[in-house]
């Protein structure tokens, strides 16, 4: 039983790892241009596992920014993980040993969060560990490859692999739409507003990290007030 939960996690980690290799590959190329060695860029990826944060860090390292600037930039770019961490806190069994929370926290990336929230509640830490055991090495390996050889993967393949992560997000959010109208409307509205924020003048000046936070708080907040859910319904709609 426990073993099968871990294996299920590993299986769901495969598409994440594929997408990660593509994204991390370009990160590796950028790391090389910023003057990092393969060891340095791989250590950065293993310890951070955050694409936007790492890309921004490379820019800061090149410009010789202060450590305070580095800390502040990471805080702003990665603040969305704070919201994800709050949501995950309600999915874990509150009687489970505390150290599971310390380990799972390390794996809160957009993608690992996405599949974990989709698993049965209470979330088994083993499931998330299974995903992490495949996805994080994929992230590190991609970074390493990109730094060592920027021309190893053909552009066509990179372009194709880079939608893997979005495909996964879609696989997580679409199925519940069939059972729940509110969620269907919510997803449509979220995408439309997100597009407006990306393309309209002035609004398009907001960085993508902030856009995600602002829209998540705003839209989820309005939905919570307009369509509060009761616990029975919450249990029924389990799996995201």
């Amino acid at each position: 039983m426990k073993k099968s939960v871990f294996l299920k996690g590993m299986k769901d980690g495969v598409p994440i790892a594929l997408g990660y290799i593509a994204v991390a590959f370009t990160l590796g190329i950028a790391a090389k241009n910023a003057g990092l060695s393969a060891l340095q860029s791989t250590v950065m990826s293993v310890t951070n596992t955050t694409s936007a944060g790492e890309f921004a860090a490379l820019g800061l390292i090149t410009s010789g920014a202060t450590f305070l600037e580095m800390a502040a930039t990471q805080l702003i770019i990665n603040l969305r993980y704070c919201l994800m961490s709050c949501a995950l806190s309600q999915r874990l069994d509150h009687k489970a040993p505390f150290w599971h929370r310390l380990l799972i926290a390390f794996g809160i990336t957009d993608e690992i969060f996405g599949v974990s929230i989709c698993a049965d509640t209470p979330l088994s830490p083993l499931y998330t560990y299974g995903v992490m055991s495949i996805a994080i090495p994929g992230w590190a390996f991609g970074t390493f490859l990109g730094t060592v050889s920027g021309s190893l993967l053909p552009a066509r393949l990179l372009s194709a692999l880079s939608v893997a992560l979005y495909g996964m997000f879609i696989a997580v959010i679409i199925p519940p739409c069939k059972k729940n109208r509110v969620i269907a409307v919510l997803i449509t509205v979220s995408m439309a507003v997100s597009a407006a924020f990306s393309y309209l003048p002035v609004l398009d000046q907001i960085s993508s990290g902030f856009r995600i936070i602002i829209l998540t708080v705003m839209i989820s907040g309005i939905a919570a007030v307009l369509f509060p859910i009761d616990e029975k319904e919450e249990a029924k709609n389990n799996g995201i």
Binding site: M44, R101, L102, D110, A155, Y166, G167, I173, S220
Partner: protein, 101 residues
């Protein structure tokens, strides 16, 4: 210079881990407030939707291949395809579309 890069990495890793670990370790009980529960229930859907669109459109080298991948992924997911199937379906769509454009 090398040691300074490791210091940078240490600072960013520390800040990022704190953001991830604090809510998870500080909020250990079930939240009872109904509005707050509802809010956290909706958060994953909204976050993932906002992150997917329109970002997917600029992920590939051609907007048309990305748009095709988006539509195919939605159809596959609606039909109950697994994570792996939907992800690979999207990748294949991009690959094939870009062969012909």
């Amino acid at each position: 210079m090398a040691y300074k890069i490791y210091l940078y990495i240490l600072v960013m890793a520390g800040v990022t881990y704190l953001i991830r670990v604090l809510p998870l370790t500080l909020i250990r009980r079930q939240i009872r407030n109904k509005t707050l529960r509802s809010f956290l229930y909706y958060v994953p859907y909204v976050t993932l939707a906002v992150m997917t669109f329109p970002a997917i459109l600029s992920a590939t080298s051609e907007i048309w291949s990305a748009l095709a991948a988006f539509l195919i992924a939605v159809v596959l997911a609606y039909r109950g395809g697994s994570l792996f199937k939907v992800a690979i379906g999207a990748c294949l769509t991009v690959f094939l579309t870009e062969l012909f454009i």
